[in-house]
């Protein structure tokens, strides 16, 4: 089934990682809908959230190929884990004296924020899942959008430990003489 997938990855913070990931996705003809990268609580590690359209099996295949990238520590498809998803949009919209109050009403309904006001426009920040953000943008379109910038989705799975949770008691070290732990050996599937 083709649908939107959310892949989350923990990667080493090294040059070229983003390139390799993008290159792998491009080779398999995936259109990256969004990609968001940022540091995490552990130094030298970043988390990436990639959203793309694709059929389940194809996405799983490319996930395994992405997992081959040396700097990728873990990568997981959390599409079916009911994740909390958010993205942020900054929208600069035309606002005259006559349209301003109507815009403010819409902003209130969507719990967005006005972060800058100038005589003929407003900058609005909206946070929500992709659907909400897009509906919001649609509603503002009629007033005239001057500039629009979106962060792309970031997501966390609900509940306890997620697939990328790092167990602090175990060092993230991999040495030449790497012996698989029993747990690693008994990973699901194979």
């Amino acid at each position: 089934m083709t649908r939107k997938h959310i892949l989350v990855a923990l990667v080493q913070d090294k040059p070229g990682v983003l390139n390799r990931i993008a290159s792998t996705l491009r080779r398999r003809n995936f259109n990256i809908e969004s990609i968001a990268v940022g540091h995490i609580e552990i130094p030298h590690l970043s988390r990436m959230t990639i959203t793309l359209e694709g059929d389940d099996a194809k996405v799983e295949q490319v996930r395994k190929q992405l997992d081959r990238v040396v700097e990728v520590i873990r990568i997981s498809d959390i599409t079916y884990e009911n994740p909390v998803e958010r993205e942020m949009a900054m929208i600069k919209v035309k606002a005259s004296a006559s349209t301003r109050s109507e815009i403010i009403q819409i902003v209130d309904i969507f719990r967005a924020n006005i972060v800058d006001v100038s005589p003929d426009s407003l900058i609005i920040v909206a946070v929500g899942n992709q659907e909400k953000v897009e509906t919001f943008i649609e509603l503002l379109r009629g007033f005239g959008i001057r500039e629009l910038s979106r962060t792309g989705t970031i997501a966390l799975p609900r509940g306890g430990a997620g697939p990328l949770t790092i167990d602090e008691s175990k060092p993230l070290r991999h040495v030449v003489e790497h012996v698989l732990t029993e747990e690693e050996e008994n990973l699901p599937n194979w």
Partner: protein, 564 residues
């Protein structure tokens, strides 16, 4: 201890057990070439084109199982490596490509001979890096070599700017490799192995397909034990040739487009395919949706991304083949598959694919068979790409692991000659035969000079059919003989050899074949035989594109009888 980047590079290579570097110098590499003489244990072999360095390193890696190292200068030197890196990538050969780069303060400014080679090689390397600090060089070399050789092997590239080679820094050889994201899975999942053994213990028509992964993992004894204990016929892939002795009663040739008819039939009618260290390449499977239609599939590979890529596996096992088979072999029971094996033997009788037909003219197949007879099979065969490559796979019988070196995944014309250099350097005590076509030979012909300079005892057979034979064959069979752009004007290959200082003979007649082969073998140093062969001979069996494995074409109404 304070050392320059160039010294660190040499020290690290030696510490990693590297003995040979195939290279070609250039401006930014001068600091390194100025350092090499201080490390005489590190043999530098000067090639004549960087592509040759990469192919030589690739073949060296295949015959030795160790990492092959090639070296090129920045810009054009680096881009000349690209074909060779791609070749190693597709055939999973462990290779370290080192490229010089313009000094760090020039990078990104389109400096003279600057190319972003790490950018260029992202899709064809397992790992690559531009090293910007001499203090990090040792760590990167260690990481790169570790990544190249472990898991599913492959090429890695380090791009080193000239000033990094010159900078002095404190050198400590890193004890450990720290790559938290890189954990090749070495052991198969026990539950999956159990499922596999349950299947193997119950099915009636099993077949093993053994690929290059068996060679890489050196799981020869384990594969033999599995086959013998369960009496499973073994078919190899083209790159798996040699991983199971072809003289073994359970050996049924290799599969695919030009594979043996009986091998393809065995797979098509099997009820279980045990795929080991292979990746269901389209040249191997024919139309993949009709591949082994009645079979369940056990797929064993160290690379999880290969599983389910081209074909769904019923039992996927990710792990190192040697380890997986060791566990699996303990769980399988002794079996006999008398009727299945006799069915296969019957197919082998109806579809002989390795018999040389009686023919007046000089057949390439006959030549390959003669090389087999004279060498008694005890030689490394290195091929180029084309018809002769397929005949070398079909008409020579391989009993020794890694005795067949060929460009499978990329199908790189020009691979043969430099690869034979790598093979000979890696296995100096083995006889090496390089089988080339008249087309591909001319793509890397300049490496003849390398052979002479290094005095390498390599026997070269050029199959001169006057055509880009494999393409001509497709034009004949698929494009109704509309030949275009495939006929070759050729030089006198013996004179070419002579110009390089290489002895050679031209052979036109069958009766001269054997003496020429013997002469080449007796000669110390490179020797070239130009065989003027039947121009329009075709490779059979042939599974035309878009057909299933059992829809192979065979040699039409033989003009002569078949002869063993």
């Amino acid at each position: 201890m304070m050392k320059t980047g160039a010294e660190i590079l040499c020290e690290c290579l030696l510490k990693e057990g590297v003995e040979v570097v195939f290279g070609f110098p250039g401006g930014v590499l001068l600091p390194l070439y100025d350092t090499f003489p201080k490390y005489p244990e590190l043999r530098h072999i000067l090639v004549r084109h960087e592509q040759g360095a990469a192919h030589a390193a690739d073949a060296y890696a295949r015959v030795t199982g160790k990492i092959g190292v090639c070296l090129a200068t920045s810009g054009p030197g680096a881009t000349n490596l690209v074909t060779g890196i791609a070749n190693a990538y597709l055939d999973s050969a462990p290779m370290l490509a080192i490229t010089g780069q313009v000094p760090t303060f020039f990078i990104g400014k389109d400096a003279f001979q600057e190319v972003d080679i790490t950018g260029v090689t992202i899709p064809i390397t397992k790992y690559n890096h531009l090293v910007l600090d001499a203090a990090e060089l040792a760590e990167y070399i260690r990481e790169a070599i570790y990544v190249a050789q472990s898991g599913r092997p492959g090429p890695v590239l380090l791009d080193i700017p000239r000033d990094v080679l010159q900078t002095k820094t404190d050198f400590v050889f890193p004890e450990k490799v720290d790559l938290p994201g890189y954990k090749p899975k070495l052991f198969g999942h026990p539950a999956q192995i159990k499922k596999a053994s349950d299947l193997i213990n119950t099915v009636e028509r099993p077949v093993i397909i053994a690929g290059r992964g068996v060679n890489v993992s050196r799981a020869f004894a384990e594969l033999k034990e599995l086959a013998e204990k369960s009496q499973i016929p073994v078919v190899t892939t083209f790159l798996g040739i040699g991983c199971f002795p072809e003289s073994h009663v359970l050996s049924y040739g290799w599969l695919g487009m030009h594979g043996m008819g009986y091998a393809n039939k065995a797979i098509h009618h099997s009820d279980l395919v045990v795929a080991i260290g292979m990746r269901f390449d389209d040249r191997a499977t024919g139309v993949v949706s009709a591949f082994a239609p009645q079979a369940r599939i056990i797929h064993i590979d160290i690379d999880a991304a290969e599983i389910g890529k081209n074909l769904n596996a019923d039992v996927p096992i990710v792990g190192d083949i040697k380890n997986v088979l060791q566990v699996l072999n303990k769980q399988i029971t002794k079996r006999e598959h008398v009727s299945w094996l006799s069915q296969l033997d019957e197919w082998r009788a109806i579809h002989p694919a390795t018999e040389v037909r009686d023919h007046e003219g000089l057949l390439p197949q006959y030549i390959i068979r003669q090389i087999h007879e004279v060498t008694k099979g005890d030689t490394i065969i290195v091929t180029d790409v084309g018809q002769h490559q397929m005949w070398a796979g079909q008409y020579f019988f391989y009993d020794k692991p890694n005795s067949f070196v060929s460009s499978g995944g990329l199908g790189t014309m020009g691979f043969g000659l430099p690869a034979s250099i790598g093979a000979k350097v890696g296995a100096p005590h083995e006889t090496v035969w390089c089988i080339c076509g008249d087309g591909g030979f001319q793509m890397t012909v300049q490496e003849l000079a390398t052979m002479v300079q290094e005095n390498l005892d390599i026997n070269i057979a050029v199959m001169n059919n006057g055509w880009l034979g494999m393409v001509r064959q497709w034009q004949e069979l698929i494009y109704e003989k509309r030949y275009f752009g495939t006929q070759l004007y050729n030089p006198d290959f013996v004179k070419i050899a002579e110009a390089y200082g290489i002895k050679g003979v031209k052979v036109n007649k069958k009766i001269d074949v054997r003496p020429a082969i013997e002469k080449a073998m007796a000669h110390k140093g490179p020797f070239l035989i130009e065989f003027v062969v039947e121009p329009e001979e075709n490779v059979y069996p042939f599974v035309p594109p878009g057909k299933t494995l059992v829809e192979f074409l065979e040699m039409p109404s033989p003009s002569g009888s078949l002869k063993k």
